[in-house]
C-alpha cells in the first residue's frame, strides 16, 4: 500500500460473523465483515465507503476493540489489541477516539458540556483539577465554541454545535487517530462543510489521522487521502483518492460514483460509470463467488465471477481491486 508515516492501526484479515438465528443450520452465520485488511498511517485520512449494511460500522467497532473479531486481528502500533495489558489498553483508549454520526444520541443528556469534558480529563488524569476549566475552555475554542458552552446541556445546542462538542470530547484525550463514523451525514449540507473544515483544520494543527466512514462520495472526495470501498463485508477496491475518483476500477465503485449528484452534463458523468445502476440489496450477496455478482451490470461471460471469490489484487502500487474483469 502507499508509503507514508508509521502505521497507527492495522486490520489483518478482520472478520466478524453473527449467529444467524434459526437459519444458522443452513447459512451458518451472517458475515458482517470478512477478511478486511487495512492500515491507517500517521497524519493520513483513510475513507471507508459503501452502502448501509456493507460492514463499515462493524469494521469501526472492531478496530476500536468494542467487540472481538471472529477471526483476524487488530494491531495498534504493531501490538495485537487482545494482547494489550490494562495499562497499554489505557494508552490505546487515549490514542484512538470515535466521533459519531448522530449528534443527538452521542452526548449524555444529563451532563453539562463542562462536566462531560472534565470527567475525561479526570479519568485519564490529564490535567490537575485547578487547571481543568482552563483546558476545557481551550478544547471548546479548538472546535469553534465559546467557553461558556461548558455550562450548558447538550440539548441547548444545534446539531452542528453538538457535533463540535463530540469532537471536543474526542480531542480531550489528545488522540492520534479519530474514527469518524458518518460524522456529517446527519447534518444539514451547509453545516456539513463547516464540520468538514473543522476536521481538516484540526488535522493540520494537531497532526491527526482519520478513519473517515461515509456513504457519500462527495464528502469523501473533500477529505480523503486514500479510499477503501466496501461491499458485502469485503473491501472491493482500495486506492489513492485522486486515482479512485479519476479512474474507478471496480463496477461497484463506478456505480457509487455515478450516483454522486453532479453539475456536469450527463454525458460527462457517464464517461466513468456504467449507466445501469445496480439494484437489489447487499444481503443478497452469495456465499461463494464475487459478492457483487448478483448486482453487477457487466459480469464476465465465462462464469468466472461465480466460480470463486476474486482476490483483492494489487494492480499498481497502492491500487487494489477485487474484480476479475477490472
Amino acid at each position: 500500500m502507499s508509503s507514508g508515516g508509521n502505521v497507527i492501526l492495522e486490520a489483518r484479515g478482520l472478520t466478524r460473523r453473527y449467529p444467524a438465528g434459526r437459519q444458522a443450520e443452513t447459512t451458518g452465520s451472517v458475515r458482517a465483515v470478512e477478511g478486511v485488511s487495512l492500515r491507517i498511517r500517521e497524519r493520513e485520512t483513510l475513507a471507508l465507503v459503501g452502502e448501509s449494511g456493507c460492514g463499515k460500522s462493524t469494521t469501526a467497532r472492531l478496530l476500536l476493540g468494542l467487540e472481538p473479531p471472529s477471526a483476524g486481528e487488530v494491531r495498534y502500533r504493531g501490538r495485537e489489541l487482545g494482547a494489550l495489558s490494562a495499562a497499554e489498553m489505557r494508552v490505546f483508549r487515549r490514542s484512538v477516539q470515535l466521533v459519531f454520526q448522530d449528534p443527538f444520541a452521542s452526548l449524555n443528556p444529563r451532563l453539562t458540556v463542562g462536566s462531560m469534558l472534565a470527567e475525561v480529563l479526570a479519568v485519564h488524569e490529564l490535567v490537575p483539577r485547578a487547571k481543568r476549566p482552563e483546558r476545557i475552555a481551550e478544547l471548546l475554542k479548538l472546535v469553534g465554541l465559546d467557553a461558556d458552552a461548558a455550562n450548558r446541556y447538550p440539548h441547548e445546542f444545534s446539531g452542528g454545535q453538538r457535533q463540535r462538542i463530540g469532537v471536543a470530547r474526542a480531542l480531550a484525550v489528545e488522540p492520534e487517530l479519530i474514527v469518524a463514523d458518518e460524522p456529517v451525514s446527519a447534518l444539514d449540507v451547509s453545516i456539513q462543510a463547516q464540520v468538514l473544515n473543522l476536521l481538516a483544520d484540526l488535522q493540520a494543527r494537531l497532526g491527526l489521522s482519520y478513519l473517515f466512514i461515509a456513504h457519500d462520495l462527495a464528502v469523501v472526495r473533500q477529505v480523503a487521502d486514500r479510499v477503501a470501498v466496501m461491499y458485502g463485508g469485503r473491501i472491493v477496491e482500495l486506492a489513492r483518492a485522486d486515482e479512485l475518483f479519476a479512474r474507478p476500477l471496480h463496477p461497484y465503485t463506478k456505480a457509487l460514483l455515478a450516483a454522486v449528484p453532479s453539475l456536469r452534463p450527463p454525458e460527462a458523468r457517464r464517461r466513468n460509470a456504467d449507466p445501469s445502476l445496480p439494484e437489489g440489496e447487499v444481503v443478497d450477496a452469495p456465499s461463494f463467488g464475487c459478492p457483487f455478482y448478483p448486482r453487477c451490470p457487466s459480469p464476465a461471460k465465462d462464469g468466472e465471477c461465480v466460480a470463486a471469490l476474486p482476490a483483492l489484487e494489487e494492480r499498481r502500487a497502492g491500487r487494489w481491486v477485487r474484480c476479475v474483469k477490472a
Partner: protein, 290 residues
C-alpha cells in the same frame, strides 16, 4: 455557528411541570398528597384529642360524629378523627420507607442484570419471575408470621416484597440506554464499568423509576392496611388505618363511622398517589400522553 438556542434544562423541567399542571386529576392528587403529608407532620396540632386517650369508656364509646368528635368515637371512647390523623403518620412513614427500600433493591438488581447480562441476568430475572409468581399478600403473611410484628419489620418486609416490578423496569431501561452512543463514547474513552453504569446509564433511567415509586407508595399503603387489618401489621393500641377498620368490623352496622373514616382515608390516599403517579408519567414522558 450562531444557531438559535433551544431552551435550557430548566425550561425542560418547566415544560414537564406545565404538562403535569394541565393534568387536572394529577393536580388534585398532588394537593391531597400535600395536605396528607402536612396532616401527618403536624398531627399533634391537627388532632383535637390524644389518639390513645381513654376516659370514661362507658360514657364516651360509640358516639356518632359530632362537633366534639368529627368522626365519632370507637368502642374505647377514643376520638376516631385523631386516630385517623395519627394513622396517616404510620401509613405514610411505612409507605415511603418501604418504597425506598424496594426502589433501592429493584434498581440495583435491574441495573446489574441489564448491564452485565449473561447468566447473571438470566438468574436474577428468573428469580424475579419466581418471586412474582407468589401473591404478594401470601409472601407478606409468611414473612411477618415468622417474627414478632413491629413497624420496622412491616416496613422491611413490604420493601423486600415490593422491588420486583422496579427491577424489571430498570433492567429494560438499562438494556436500551447501554446501547446509546454516549455509552459507547464512554467505553471508547476508557471509562470503567462502574463509572459507566452509575454516571452514564442510571441517571438516564430514573424517570420511569420515579413514576413507579409514586405508584408504589399507594400500593404499599394498601398492603400495610391489609396486613394491619389481618392483625399482622401495626399492633393496637397504635393507630393504623388497617387495624382501625378491623376494630370496627363487628359493629359496622351500629357504628359505621369507626370503619368508614379510616377506610375513606385509605381510599383517598392510595388514589392520590396513583393520580400523582399517572400525572408524572404523562408529564415526564411525552410519548405516553393518552
Amino acid at each position: 455557528m450562531s444557531a438559535p438556542m433551544t431552551g435550557s434544562r430548566r425550561s425542560v423541567r418547566r415544560e414537564a411541570w406545565r404538562r403535569f399542571m394541565r393534568h387536572r386529576q394529577a393536580v388534585l392528587g398532588l394537593l391531597l398528597t400535600v395536605l396528607l403529608a402536612l396532616t401527618a407532620l403536624m398531627a399533634p396540632l391537627v388532632a383535637p384529642h390524644d389518639p390513645d386517650e381513654q376516659t370514661d369508656i362507658v360514657a364516651t364509646r360509640y358516639q356518632p360524629p359530632s362537633v366534639e368528635h368529627p368522626m365519632g368515637t370507637d368502642r374505647f371512647g377514643r376520638d376516631v378523627f385523631s386516630r385517623v390523623v395519627y394513622g396517616a403518620r404510620i401509613s405514610l412513614m411505612i409507605g415511603f420507607l418501604a418504597v425506598a427500600i424496594a426502589i433501592s433493591i429493584g434498581t440495583a438488581v435491574g441495573a446489574i442484570a441489564g448491564f452485565l447480562g449473561g447468566w447473571l441476568d438470566t438468574t436474577l430475572m428468573r428469580g424475579v419471575d419466581l418471586l412474582l409468581s407468589f401473591p404478594r399478600l401470601v409472601l407478606l403473611i409468611t414473612l411477618v408470621a415468622l417474627f414478632e410484628p413491629s413497624i420496622a419489620l412491616i416496613t422491611l418486609v413490604l420493601g423486600l416484597t415490593g422491588w420486583m416490578g422496579t427491577s424489571r423496569i430498570v433492567r429494560g431501561q438499562v438494556l436500551t440506554v447501554r446501547e446509546m452512543e454516549y455509552v459507547t463514547a464512554a467505553r471508547v474513552l476508557g471509562f470503567g464499568q462502574a463509572r459507566i453504569l452509575v454516571r452514564h446509564i442510571l441517571p438516564n433511567v430514573l424517570t420511569p423509576v420515579i413514576v413507579a415509586a409514586t405508584l408504589g407508595i399507594g400500593n404499599t399503603i394498601l398492603a400495610e392496611a391489609a396486613l394491619s387489618f389481618l392483625g399482622l401489621g401495626v399492633q393496637p393500641p397504635t393507630a393504623s388505618w388497617g387495624n382501625m377498620v378491623a376494630s370496627g368490623r363487628d359493629t359496622m352496622l351500629n357504628a359505621w363511622w369507626i370503619t368508614t373514616f379510616p377506610g375513606l382515608a385509605i381510599v383517598l390516599t392510595v388514589m392520590s398517589f396513583n393520580l400523582v403517579g399517572d400525572g408524572l408519567r404523562d408529564a415526564l414522558d411525552p410519548r405516553h400522553v393518552v
